[in-house]
Amino acid sequence: MNKILEKTDLSDSVVKMVIEAPEIAGKRRAGQFIILKVDEKGERIPLTIVDSDAGKGTITIIYQVVGKTTAIMAGMKAGDEIMDVQGPLGNPTEIENFGQVVCIGGGVGVGVVYPLAVALKKAGNRVISIIGARTKDLLILEKEMKEVSDELHVATDDGSYGFHGFVSTVLQNLIDKGVKIDRVYAIGPVPMMRVLSNQTKPYGIKTIVSLNAIMVDATGMCGACRVAVAGKTKFTCVDGPEFDGHEVDFDLLTKRLRMYCEQEKQCYDAYRCECHGK
């Protein structure tokens, strides 16, 4: 059992939670994730560890309400308990002083790129960040990203805040201006990561993406999260979650992510009906 200590709504559908998990807090490094199972009948879902406080023994997660599990969690409050939290899982991000890096986060992916920006900054990199969302209300962690970045760009698809357009356009502007970029970290929806990877490839800018494949055990046991990287099958949970974006088969990832669309909707709808009944 892991107690929820804080819960904050970052937007209409995005929630931040600080959870008691002392062992994970002391051990985790940037880029790693947890598997969380909310109750006895819950599914196991992977969530990136956004932040941790080893002293207080807490970890921070950010999630978007997209299905039954996240809806249940959105209904929980500080003091409630999450049944199972397993971690830290996955390989930590390779952190070095690469020079000047660009950290790009889209939507809830800003929460995933944030710990990388923190670690990269600490390692001596000059960090340029680009964060984006569909609209202003969905933008998260602007203040936090600003604090760890030497330069922060904000973009919204509808132009309600910051640059009117996609994060990819902001990146292209930087490239066109001749800004030296030693590495790009691109984390967000699959179409965004695909576009950014395609975009940097001709320039030979190494681009790291963090994949959100469907997982079950997340210990390398089941292969649910298999992805094709440079033509080889890899398991996102133990070989990733980060891969070279230029080598990832995004088409396969997109298709595999749709595998349970129907059931997930069915499950979520049933849950919502149940809630309305009460």
């Binding site: 079950v216 055990d217 595998m259």
Partner: protein, 479 residues
Amino acid sequence: MTHTGVNAMENKEKKVKVPRQKMPEQAPKDRVRNFDEVPFGYTEELAITEAKRCIQCKKPGCVAGCPVDVNIPGFIKKIAEGDFLGAARVLKETNSLPAVCGRVCPQEDQCEKVCILGKKGEAVAIGRLERFAADYERNAGKVSIPEPAPPRGQKVAIVGAGPSGLTIASDLVKLGYEVTIFEALHKAGGVLVYGIPEFRLPKAIVQAEVDYLKKLGVKIVVNALIGRYKTVDELFAEGYEAIYLAVGAGAPVFMNVPGENLSGIYSANEYLTRSNLMKAYRFPEYATPIVRGRNVAVIGGGNVAMDSVRTALRLGAENAYIIYRRTEVEMPARIEEVHHAKEEGVQFKLLTNPVEYIGNEQGWVKAIKCQRMELGEPDSSGRRRPIPVKGSEFLIDVDTVVVAVGTNANPIVPATTPGLEVNKWGYIVTKGESGETSRCGVYAGGDIVTGAATVILAMGAGRKAAKAIHEYLCGKKKK
């Protein structure tokens, strides 16, 4: 019929040996639509009748045939006498998981194989009797907890709460060690909870065994993937004086056939984990989904393949196939499992091997291109090698595939434990039966040493390593 005629018949009947008693079970047409256990188990009467068939050999071969040396004639004698709780106590002297072993051990290759009655007729149904006694004790709520041993003040860490880890934990806690099991998943039991289906091993039984261990004083930390959560060296730093690695052969094997990553293609580990551990067969009450395929093919001929294909039927498959590259004779699955699968309507496509998976526009598997095989000369496993028949390709329409062709070593623990020797397949190297590894104080056993094997062999390894660790720690204390 005359009066004397009746007498003669009675006499003749007495001379006829009592046959091996069948275990009542659900009819195939019923059970194929539910996940309840297939056999109901012996009644008391059936158990006593069967137990009385045992001739109580002075030098019982069956005991030697058991990897954990269960006193088989001893517990059977108790059943014959109607002392069922006594029978369970005898079992538990050497086997910490009798209700499990009675169900999933391959008795036909072990104790029952060497039963003297089997030479001329049918062996005593040792497994069924074991199961009966263990179930009787559990159902009666009379599971006895032994007096705790005086604490030795030495801590042992067990990595993995599968059959091997549970067995060694039971042995060491009874010797007075402070035992903590670290389990990567959210539930203890290992393959007993994620792999073996409910219809073959009800999870309530595994839970009862785990609860029993907790009552003995074993601590179980779940959600703790050693290698990530803590390393072996960190466990030593926390004061554990010996560590037993029983992490299983957890990595799935795929065949590197084109199209294997199409949607609808599962490893058996994933398919079974979703269904068993996560209870996806009760979706959406349980939140984990599973594809309920109409035409499901399972690749492989072992017990895991049988478990997968029978799960597919229970999930509503209209056609459930086993695709196996050799013949039924070479199938590694237990005869009983193959028999059950056939009764339930599984279609066996033997001497057949997948060469390609074909998908639709959405990337979902729609057919398997298969190749016919023929058997050639025996290979290193002693089984005849399957050879592809040229130009024999054909298609099988499917919407779900489960690849059940074996498992590999999970590399996480070896990769994070400097100095731990593994062989070329990644399995941990041990010295003899003690389970001693290349690292002082680190022992290993079960599938991570042997490769995928049986529950009872993993338990046997746990038992032997318990002795070795006990000797090691006694020696260490004296120093």
